[in-house]
Symmetry: C2
Subunit: 423 residues, 2 copies
């Protein structure tokens, strides 16, 4: 791959055209061959541990210059165990069923035509992500497993680590006689390149940004191809009048506290008025014990002394940290309306023993995932049994919820006849 | 609905917000109720025939002012029989299975969680189309059947006819206690309104333009929401060395001549060199007899005296009329490469008795539909057994090929537990 180019547009064009050409070769490569590549890439990554760690050390040397926090440095840092985990991830993806070439629907028409709807790759993916180096291997693996060529554009903080990983993956593509440019990485942090690539919809079929809302918005605004967006999760747990309150407390605590910095963490509790007096002091104690600040309406504050007043902004805030908003509602309907108004259509849960209430909630809440008596934290490709995911889509078009292998595919119709003509 | 607004942006905003509000009501309305609306709308349209014909007469009076050709006027003209056909179309859509609420996938996880993937409406559709009034009823019916609210923006040439039809549909929505604004029509030909609506992705989930390439391009460029695009069909028939030549001639003639002005008509023939000498004179005669001009490469012109020389532009031209391009190729591989280079990924056919050749062609040609020993003209929602279609998508994202009811839907995950929390 060319290293530095003075003309970013020419450089971007070359990346895009190579990806397109590679995608054609990949689309007809067997699943067996793609899996063989994944398995031997895993072995080759383990063998290349020393050079990967060396590259990673250079990234860590630069980390202070980029102003990385300690937590960010920790996420950037690789060691033998983490390289092994990256390799194991590739092996796990190799073990998943091949999504490509499957007949996903079939009809035989009265005139004898046999119409098969067959899963095919989307083509080429432009994946724009932030700094963790394991994402580089993971994204490349998911794309190639689903028959797509990928252009990776990671954060500059992990540039050396990612380049070392990609070099291994590309060598293994060559060894397996697969198109080398099935995996390419943008070797420059020039932001113009992202802009150029986002305009090349003749070569790139989908853009997937993974990172903060600002990045996603920029990509969505500039892209001329479809974008799979992964926006905020302002997730709610609604505690119904018919809730088992022990179970409700367990679910709220797990949804909020099991991991706070993730999109499927709970950010807001709604409590039916009939159970508020009993439930509020109980959940207040549990959350405050865990260091969570409660921002509530008047009823909440009346029951939980340490709760502070929620502002209008709180109701739509994704804290990703130790705070939660809390409101008492008069009815299931009010809870649904509230979630539709302030939620982000990501993940919302109800805790109830009432079948009708659960059905109304599931039908009325327009979110990618609706949980009934379960933690919001289960909204995840792995927990859904998909095996691998490239993100959680907050769109309704094409892919919604966890994006695994199938979400990176399209389909074609193959129609077989014996001379049928249309009257 | 308000009739005229001086401020097109305010007017557009109101349409969009009403559509969004209506979509929420529609999403939870039963399939039975939506079908009842379709059936009684059919009856009401028949009863309103006189007033619809009167509105249509006004459109026809204006037709010369809009510079409509005789053929266009014919397509615009309604009579009792055509109104009856529109009504019958609604009844036919009512008889299709309800796509909404179906469990399209289900998993039970080891921890006991039951995960259902359930079909839901996309939400609101902005449908922009050209002048035939029957499309107004058809599009409204398909959208509401699939649980979506629709904003219709038809051509000004059919404005009175479309308004009369929409008035009937809205009256029936009221009668069935369904949201009236599930069907709205833009009552102004001001092009600004289209621009405003295309920027309202908070209220509109998908834009569907149906018409010429210029319209589609404009919508795709300006839209901030996903667009289902229906671009050109530069469809090929490849006559393989192992083709049954009688059958090949029948398929070429049908693909080209059964209806020329449609996207699934054949625009280009590729012929394997081994059969060119036999096949060319035969197909040349048949096409010329039917008034088709042949634009060919040298080999074609050597065999067909009346063929004229094809220019580079011809190879990628969708004629939609009595012309066809014709080229002799050396191999199946060359045919596939040619189609990938000049085709439009819409519909391409192979005629062959060779199983391997048919498989290679089906795998190598990246088109929405690949036909094996069948006319390209079968690429159609009706012929595929979908019952109703709103267009044929040339995209790979979300929907490819005929867009019926399912292609206007999304899905959500409903996860049912009994208190599961994530470790």
């Amino acid at each position: 791959m060319a290293v530095v180019e003075t003309d970013t547009k020419t450089y971007s064009r070359r990346l895009a055209e190579r990806a397109r050409a590679a995608s054609k070769g990949l689309a007809t490569a067997s699943g067996e061959l793609r899996d063989a590549w994944l398995r031997s890439s895993a072995a080759a990554l383990r063998e290349a541990t020393a050079s990967i760690l060396e590259a990673n050390a250079r990234d860590l040397d630069n980390a202070d210059g980029f102003g990385l926090t300690d937590a960010e440095k920790d996420r950037l840092r690789l060691d033998r165990k983490r390289v092994d985990a990256i390799a194991a991830g590739l092996e796990q993806i190799a073990s998943l069923p091949d999504p490509i070439g499957r007949v996903i629907d079939h009809t035989r028409r009265p005139n004898g035509l046999s119409i098969s709807k067959i899963r095919v790759p989307l083509g080429t993916v432009f994946f724009i992500y932030e700094s963790r180096p394991n994402v580089t291997a993971d994204a490349a693996a998911i794309c190639v497993k689903s028959g797509n060529a990928v252009i990776l554009r990671g954060g500059k903080e992990a540039a050396n680590s990612s380049a070392a990983i990609v070099a291994v993956l590309r060598e293994e593509l060559v060894r397996h006689d697969l198109p080398t440019d099935a995996v390419q990485i943008v070797e420059s942090s020039d932001r113009d390149i992202v802009g150029h690539l986002l305009r090349m919809n003749d070569c790139i079929d989908v853009a997937i940004p993974r990172g903060g809302a600002g990045l996603i918005r920029r990509v969505a605004d500039e892209a001329t191809m479809p974008v799979i967006k992964h926006f905020d999760g302002n997730c709610h747990v609604y505690v119904d009048s018919a809730a088992d309150l022990e179970l409700a407390a367990k679910i709220v605590v797990n949804s909020k506290c099991s991991r706070m910095g993730v999109c499927n963490a709970c950010e807001s509790i709604l409590i039916h008025r009939d159970v508020a007096k009993t439930f509020l002091p109980k959940i207040g104690k549990e959350l405050i014990e865990r260091g969570i600040q409660i921002r509530g309406d008047e009823a909440t504050r009346a029951a939980i002394r340490d709760a502070i007043a929620a502002t209008e902004e709180d109701w739509s805030t994704e804290y990703l940290g130790p705070a939660i908003s809390c409101k008492v509602v008069d009815s299931l309907e009010q809870a649904i309306d509230w979630i539709e108004r302030y939620g982000s259509h990501h993940t919302d849960a109800i805790v109830t023993r009432d079948l009708t209430a659960s059905q109304k909630f599931a039908a009325g809440v327009d979110s990618a995932a609706v949980m009934i008596n379960a933690s919001t934290r289960f909204h995840d490709g792995g927990e859904f049994g998909m095996g691998a995911e490239i993100g959680i889509s907050t769109d309704k078009f094409h892919a919604r919820g966890p994006c695994g292998l199938e979400e990176l595919t399209s389909y074609k119709y193959v129609v077989v006849g014996d001379g049928q003509i249309r009257q």
